[in-house]
């Protein structure tokens, strides 16, 4: 009798073994997350994606592994939690350039202020009178698609002299680039300059340029590509290998594009129509397409980033007096709006929008627009409250 009880008791434990998955937290829906690879990667590409993922999200730099000595963050993920937008805690300052051309403060630590230092070192301080701006990191998903847009497509969208008279005069950023980057397919150059497209002012040519620069300027890591120590200015041995940087670049190229949500919601649909009506879509272009890419999954694809990757005059309120490359201080590259509704999930549950996180809501960000966007902003102001809510709901759905 007693033996039967023990056996019965043991059998009662069996359901536990089959409930592992039932009681476990369920996987979030794909559209709720920014991270994850593009569809249709080959198995070899998927493996490389994971290697890059580990380097980007898990590799923390310490004093022993080369952090600093002056820096702004300790890892890639410290500025791009969940591959999302940065938080003011890790905002960084660039300084030393007021006009298109060359930064005059390169010998005084420019262009980036490394405002933190490992123990025993002093961080940089802003030189008195230097032009500067604060920046927070952008969402990094879908960058491979943006990287694969043909130069000619950007030129075709630009209208530097506003020949069509719509008040929008976006222009491509012709800028110099470092020797270590390679031409993208069908790249176009003019007078030794190339069309650059990454960064808030669009000064970076491609994702290798962006990544190697970020390791160096943000974390203080020297590499084959950027061998100069930000503290001493001396050429140093690499603190990260080329393969790791290459894997991170591949990871950034193959992160999926953010997936829009609630697209069948009537308010979202109405907001989308209004978004076009008030000319937001003149710069925040809904649809772009890629040219050839060696990664088949992003080659010749249509995608929906809500940007034109061009520089626009954004008016005096967003003019911090600082610039980069050959942009003017009042010019900013149109930031992609995709993923903006998920931005607060990487910003501690609160929006910090625009280049420095000064706007705490999407509406606040709209109202900061000026310059070429002044007309759109005024059209937005003229909408009824219901219509404004629809526009905001649409933007949040991206």
């Amino acid at each position: 009798m007693r033996m039967k009880s023990y056996l019965l008791g043991s059998l009662l434990l069996l359901p536990l073994f089959f409930s592992c998955e039932v009681l476990a937290p369920q996987e979030p829906e794909e559209y709720e997350l920014l991270d994850g690879p593009v569809e249709d990667l080959t198995m070899a590409e998927a493996k490389r994606f994971i290697k890059g993922d580990v380097a980007f999200n898990d590799q923390i730099f310490t004093v022993e592994t080369g952090l600093g000595p002056i820096f702004t963050g300790t890892s890639c993920v410290s500025c791009h939690a969940g591959d999302g937008k940065g938080h003011p805690f890790v905002k960084f300052t660039r300084f030393g350039q007021s006009f298109p051309g060359v930064n005059e403060y390169l010998k005084q630590g420019g262009p980036q202020l490394q405002n933190r230092a490992i123990p025993g070192y002093e961080p940089e301080t802003l030189p008195p009178g230097a032009a500067h701006t604060d920046l927070i990191a952008p969402i990094v998903t879908g960058l491979g698609f943006l990287d694969a847009v043909r130069d000619q497509d950007l030129i075709d969208m630009s209208d530097p002299d506003d020949l069509d008279g719509d008040g929008i005069s976006g222009r491509v950023h012709w800028n110099t680039r470092p020797d270590y980057v390679s031409d993208r397919p069908e790249t176009i150059s003019k007078d030794g300059k190339y069309i650059t497209r990454f960064g808030k002012k669009g000064k970076m040519y491609d994702l290798l340029h962006q990544t190697a620069d970020a390791y160096n300027q943000d974390i203080g890591i020297t590499s084959y590509f950027e061998p100069y120590d930000t503290y001493s200015g001396d050429k140093m041995p690499s603190e990260i290998d080329r393969q790791t940087i290459s894997d991170v670049v591949f990871y950034l190229k193959t992160l999926k594009a953010p997936i829009p949500r609630d697209q069948d919601d009537p308010d979202v649909m109405a907001g989308k129509a209004l978004f076009g009506d008030i000319q937001c879509a003149a710069c925040h272009k809904p649809t772009l397409s890629t040219g050839y890419s060696p990664i088949e999954a992003i080659s010749y694809k249509e995608f929906h980033p809500y940007t034109d990757l061009l520089l626009h005059d954004m008016g005096p309120e967003l003019d911090d007096g600082y610039t980069e490359g050959y942009a003017h201080s009042y010019e900013w590259k149109t930031p992609p709006l995709w993923g903006i509704g998920l931005a607060k999930d990487s910003q501690g549950g609160q929006y910090f929008l625009l280049h420095d996180g000064r706007a705490n809501s999407i509406e606040e960000a709209i109202l900061y627009h000026g310059g070429e966007a002044e007309n759109s902003k005024n059209l937005y102001r003229g909408l009824s409250q219901i219509e404004k809510d629809q526009v905001l709901k649409f933007i949040e759905s991206l």
């Binding site: 937290p25 923390i60 310490t62 410290s78 805690f89 230092a117 961080p123 910003q347 549950g349």
Partner: protein
């Protein structure tokens, strides 16, 4: 401290030889005697309060424990499947060198022997119940768990977060000090005080990207070099009433950075202070056993460093164990089934961001219900289900994880 494979083999040979020599006459400690002894013991006595085998003609006792389990973890819907873990094999050996001089060592083999660590190796000299000398590799007396961490004593496969991932259990360092106890009626009072090697700068520069005391254990020559050159003090006061329970307060702290190099000051001196309260009691009416500890850490970091590495941490754990069935099962007298629950909480970065005045995250909260079966007090079979919520430094939505454990831990 990591020891070489050669030393590992030598250690095993010695242990096997001792086993062979004493096998015929090996005797277990009398359980009745040990129950009586338990009532007079404090948490700090755990290191000597273990079932051991003694040998008639040898002044040596030998023991140890083994822990193994299965684990199935699911994090945000993604799982790596089932794994089997033999977490640790620990061997301890004690010797009475003379009437008042004892030696005890505890050697732990983890990860199938890839990691071998001396957790404790100390010589104790008894001068008076209130004054005993202890020197060698000592366990710093912080909280409830560090000195009382044997797997078979706990109903949970995982060790408490606050103890392991905040206070660096099991933490031992080279040093010496004294301890003692006194009794008065139902009251027992005990103390411990040691000077040992201290922490290193790894606690504020590590791959956890947070102020993390356990990172100190990854350093080299821990039992030979003192990173800061300054002794760390650790001490504990404990008081127990046999009818109520025990409470202990403990502290450890000191300089953790190498602020001088070759006589030159290279950094400002930085200190870490750790304070803990621990408690345990058994409610006589129900047999409910409650044990827990709460801890706080203050670590000085330069203002110009990064808030990624916090200045203040806090954490707590509490276990509640309720025996629900006690009877003879098979040939085991007093075999016991328990239901148990653990609460874990650690905040590795208490404070607010300078930039936004919003709360810094970097926390974990976990609840772990479980059931255990003890055929004898020395062996426990346990099934645990741990559900945790972990937030990153920015306080983004918590990552949820659930883990099933089934395993055993047994003295031998």
């Amino acid at each position: 401290m990591k020891i070489s494979t050669l030393n590992f083999l030598k250690t095993n040979l010695i242990i096997i030889a001792l086993f062979c020599f004493g096998l015929v006459n090996a005797q277990e400690e009398d359980p009745e005697k040990s129950k009586e002894k338990n009532e007079q013991e404090l948490n700090m006595d755990a290191v000597f309060s273990r079932p051991t085998l003694s040998f008639d003609k040898v002044p040596v006792t030998v023991g140890g424990y083994l822990e193994a389990n299965t684990m199935h973890r699911t994090e945000e819907g993604i799982t790596d499947g089932l794994s089997f873990q033999a977490r640790r094999l620990t061997i301890f050996m004690a010797a009475s060198i003379s009437e008042r001089i004892k030696f005890l060592t505890e050697i732990e083999f983890e990860d199938g022997g890839k990691e071998v660590a001396i957790e404790f190796a100390a010589l104790d000299v008894a001068f008076h119940p209130l004054f005993n000398f202890r020197g060698g590799i000592v366990m710093n007396p912080i909280g409830a768990f560090n000195e009382n961490h044997d797997g078979p004593k706990w109903e949970f496969v995982e060790r408490p977060d606050v103890a392991v991932n905040m206070l660096a259990a099991t933490l031992s360092n080279a040093g010496f000090g004294m301890y003692g106890k006194t009794y008065s009626g139902n009251w027992i009072f005990g103390y411990e005080a040691y000077l040992t090697n201290g922490f290193s700068s790894r606690i504020i520069s590590n791959e956890e990207d947070k102020t993390y005391l356990p990172a100190h254990k990854d350093g080299d020559n821990l039992f030979e070099d003192n990173f800061s050159g300054k002794a760390m003090f650790s001490g504990k006061l404990a008081i127990k009433n046999r009818k109520i329970g025990e409470i202990g307060i403990s502290y450890m702290g000191g300089t953790y950075n190498k602020f001088e190099d070759d006589g030159e000051e290279v950094e400002d001196q930085a200190k870490v202070d750790v304070f803990a309260i621990d408690w345990n009691t058994t409610i006589k009416a129900t047999g409910t056993y409650i044990v827990g500890e709460a801890a706080w850490i203050w670590a000085e970091t330069p203002d110009t460093y990064t808030q990624q590495y916090g200045n203040k941490q806090r954490g707590v754990f509490m276990d509640i164990v309720q025996p629900v069935y006690k009877n003879k099962i098979f040939e085991w007298e007093d075999a016991t089934f328990n239901v148990a629950a653990r609460f874990d909480y650690v905040d590795w970065n208490v404070g607010r961001f300078k930039e936004t005045n919003t709360k810094i995250g970097d926390q974990i909260l976990a609840v772990t219900p479980g059931i255990s079966f003890r055929p004898t007090p020395k062996t426990v079979f346990r099934i645990n289900y741990r559900y945790e919520w972990k937030t990153d430094i920015l306080n983004n939505p918590a990552e949820r994880a659930a883990t099933w454990y089934m395993g055993f831990s047994s003295y031998f």
